[in-house]
């Protein structure tokens, strides 16, 4: 039936290995990029075929066992894949967006020394991500989970000669590892809890089936889900583990688009969706998730207000949007969360690629003029809409989408989330306030970005300003496709209140409905309330856009005054609430101190002190006794004779 499922991750793996081994010899960029992109596209085709098949299939959950993996005692684990509506959506997003970004990269990475390396890593990433979403048990998922972490590490550190890049890569991996610690603890607890009930499994389907063995709302299931959530915060850059994502912008821009916007960072959301049965059973965890998600959405948005680096703004925007998804998961709006995941993948990938296009152009211009200004600093941009029309239009469309303006994709998904956070049985009006405030700020800083970059006067150095070209077609085609998706992507999930049938939710229902039903999670409230909330959120977004227009188009001197007036607040926000410094002081420095202490004091002084002390005692005794050893032959001989006499005497007398 779905036996060709394994081909989906297999194609990128082949690409990764091929380019990794032979890319250096091939040298031809078209061949390397073509292979990588082509294999991604093949993978997309297989994914689409399976997706369509699943659409028409009444049986929605399919497992495919590839091989056995670990067999120890009662513990048996397979390499197995799982196709259900949830993973079907995910593979479509991953392979689809992935193919576009691969195509984009051919143009963007042109002329790089490590061209083959880049594509090898990208394909490896696609492979890992597909393993993550297709994994049929928690451990296969974890392989993908760590695999994407690895690729993220490799790609962030792609410019490894830059210290900041390699440091950012390390930070990303290590912070993710903190999350993995949670993931593993959750896995162990879950497995042990189930095994003690007689079910030795990590298989998702079986976990879902035997979830009822655990006490609903009990301590155990809360601990398990909290541990998993810690894992999710690491991968999806939520409070408290979000600090790595902005730094991860050291990687090439397509990487930011694919990994740090569209796919990998959403893995945490996907994972919660995958285990929704367990999460639904733990209201305390759900509440934690909702609060953390809401707070992340809010805080990241505040930081985004003040950044000047085009990619950093997008990075904080990503963190903020991920916060939305977690908010959705936390209030039980699983399908809304996944929906937002998908639309976010479209418009955020488009935004990142658009920013990449801008950076590409700026870089080109600076290179031409032999300048070394920062091509990512928005203060050097402005008025680019005439120079890069395609980039501008797609970028604008995506910005509108992320701001939640009606008829664009972001509106549908975001409003669904806001509605659930207000009306769900697990929701609360304060969560809605957080979400709405974040939405307003999002609209503000995204349009600030657009206005600073594409409108107004051109602030680029005069020597470079005339050399900014529109990007080549390998870059613009993905932009156009993604821009289109950012517009229409929302129409598959028009909620019932707007006259739609929300086909997306129906499609995902087999995965989520059971748990939602079992734990009485549903949104309630009249249509009037829903309309009102919708109107308010749209109004907030428009206010945000208007403010941005006032501050950056109408009165360009206003922001400076504003900063001067609230300098302290600005400094805090500009420096990201000093979270990095806090972590440095609380974790990194003590850790190093303890390490040094354990080494220099405990190891060298105490432990080795005891050991060497023993040696000294023996040596001291020896020093005393060595005076009995004259070294003269006859003294030894005499000692021997004395011995003989004594022994013989002993026997004789």
């Amino acid at each position: 039936m779905y036996s060709n499922l394994w081909l989906i991750p297999f194609f990128p793996l082949v690409g990764a290995i091929f380019n990794g081994l032979f890319g250096k010899k091939i040298k031809n960029e078209a061949v390397i990029g073509g292979i990588a992109t082509g294999l991604m596209f093949l993978s997309f085709l297989v994914a689409a075929q399976n997706f369509i098949k699943l659409l028409g299939d009444s049986e929605k959950v399919h497992e495919l066992v590839l091989a056995s993996w670990i067999t120890v005692g009662n513990f048996h684990l397979n390499w197995e894949l799982l196709l259900d509506p949830l993973s079907a959506v995910m593979i479509m997003v991953v392979t689809g967006v992935g193919t576009l970004i691969h195509l984009y990269s051919i143009g963007y990475m042109h002329g790089e020394v490590g061209f083959y390396r880049f594509f090898s890593y990208m394909n490896l990433f696609a492979f890992s991500m597909l393993m993550l979403v297709l994994g049929g048990n928690a451990l296969v998922m974890f392989v993908g989970w760590e695999g994407v972490g690895l690729c993220s590490y490799l790609l962030i550190g792609y410019y490894y000669e830059k210290k900041s890049a390699s440091t950012a890569a390390n930070k990303a991996f290590i912070v993710n590892r903190v999350g993995d610690f949670g993931f593993l603890c959750g896995l162990f607890t879950l497995f042990w809890a189930l095994a003690s009930k007689g079910v030795w499994t990590l298989n998702f389907v079986k976990i879902a089936e035997s979830g009822h063995l655990l006490e609903s709302g009990g301590l155990l299931v809360t601990v398990v889900t909290l541990c998993f959530f810690l894992g999710a915060t690491g991968k999806s850059a939520q409070i408290p583990l979000f600090t790595w994502l902005p730094d991860a912008m050291e990687g090439p821009t397509p990487v930011s688009a694919l990994i740090h916007a569209a796919t990998m960072v959403t893995a945490g959301v996907y994972m919660i969706g995958r285990m929704n049965g367990l999460f639904a059973m733990a209201p305390a965890t759900m509440m934690t998730i909702a609060i953390v998600g809401g707070l992340t959405a809010f805080f990241a948005a505040t930081i985004g207000l003040a950044q000047n680096d085009i990619k950093r703004v997008l990075a904080y925007s990503t963190v903020s949007q991920l916060g939305y998804m977690f908010l959705a998961m936390g209030v039980g709006a699983f399908s809304a969360g996944i929906f937002h995941l998908m639309t976010h993948a479209f418009f955020k990938a488009c935004l990142f690629l658009g920013s990449g296009s801008v950076i590409h152009g700026m870089h080109h211009a600076y290179h031409h003029a032999h300048l070394h200004d920062d091509p990512q600093d928005m203060r050097n941009m402005g008025g680019l809409r005439k120079k890069m029309p395609i980039t501008f239009i797609t970028f604008l469309v995506s910005t509108i989408a992320i701001s939640g303006i009606p008829l664009f994709s972001g509106f549908f998904s975001k409003d669904e989330i806001l509605w659930w956070s207000f009306g769900s049985t697990r929701g609360h009006w304060m969560l809605w306030v957080l979400g709405a405030a974040a939405a307003g700020m999002t609209a503000f800083y995204m349009f600030r970005l657009v206005f600073m970059t594409f409108f107004g006067e051109q602030k680029t150095d005069s020597r470079a300003k005339d050399h900014i070209p529109e990007s080549p077609f390998t870059i613009t085609i993905p932009l156009m496709v993604l821009g289109l998706l950012a517009v229409i992507g929302g129409y598959i999930g028009i909620p019932a209140v707007l006259g739609g049938s929300n086909r997306f939710e129906h499609f995902l229902a087999p995965v989520f409905e059971h748990a939602q039903h079992l734990n009485e999670i549903h949104a309630h409230g009249s249509h009037a309330t829903e309309y009102t909330l919708m109107a308010i959120s749209v109004a907030i977004a428009i206010v945000g856009i208007f403010t941005a227009w006032v501050m950056y188009i109408k009165n360009p001197e206003l922001p400076a005054k504003f900063v001067a007036k609230y300098s302290r607040a600005h400094r805090v926000i500009f420096n990201k609430w000093y979270i990095d410094e806090l972590y440095e002081a609380v974790f990194v420095v003590p850790c190093k101190r303890i390490g040094t202490f354990l080494w220099k004091d405990v190891d060298v002084k105490v432990v080795d002190g005891v050991v060497n002390g023993c040696a000294w005692v023996v040596k001291g005794l020896g020093t005393g006794l060595r005076y009995t050893q004259s070294g003269y032959l006859y003294n030894y001989a005499m000692a021997m004779v004395v011995g003989v006499v004594v022994i013989v005497g002993f026997f004789v007398f």
């Binding site: 060595r626 050893q629 004259s630 070294g631 006859y634 005499m638």
Partner: protein, 100 residues
């Protein structure tokens, strides 16, 4: 009548003399010769007792003692030559590298 005890006493005397020589002399070759005296005194004991007991084993033992003595002579003297080459002396006073 000379009994076995006479022989034993004689060999004891020779043994004691040899011991004294080993312990007092400095010249390594003389020490070596004193050891030969001691060995021979033991040989005498062996043969005397062998005859007294009426068994050949003791005499065979003397053979082996001689073999060992010969081997010892060869190796010991070679050692002395080697030593003399290094130290230009065979005084045991100079043989004090064994300490510490």
């Amino acid at each position: 009548m000379i009994t076995v005890n006479h022989y034993l006493l004689l060999s004891a005397i020779l043994f004691a003399i040899g011991t004294f020589g080993v312990l007092t002399r400095k010249n390594a070759i003389v020490i070596f010769m004193c050891i030969e005296v001691m060995l021979n005194s033991v040989n005498l004991t062996f043969i005397a007792l062998s005859r007294h007991v009426g068994n050949m084993d003791g005499q065979i033992f003397v053979f082996f003692v001689m073999t060992v003595a010969a081997a010892e002579a060869a190796v010991g003297l070679a050692l002395m030559i080697a030593f003399y080459r290094n130290k230009d002396s065979i005084d045991v006073d100079d043989f004090n590298m064994l300490k510490w």
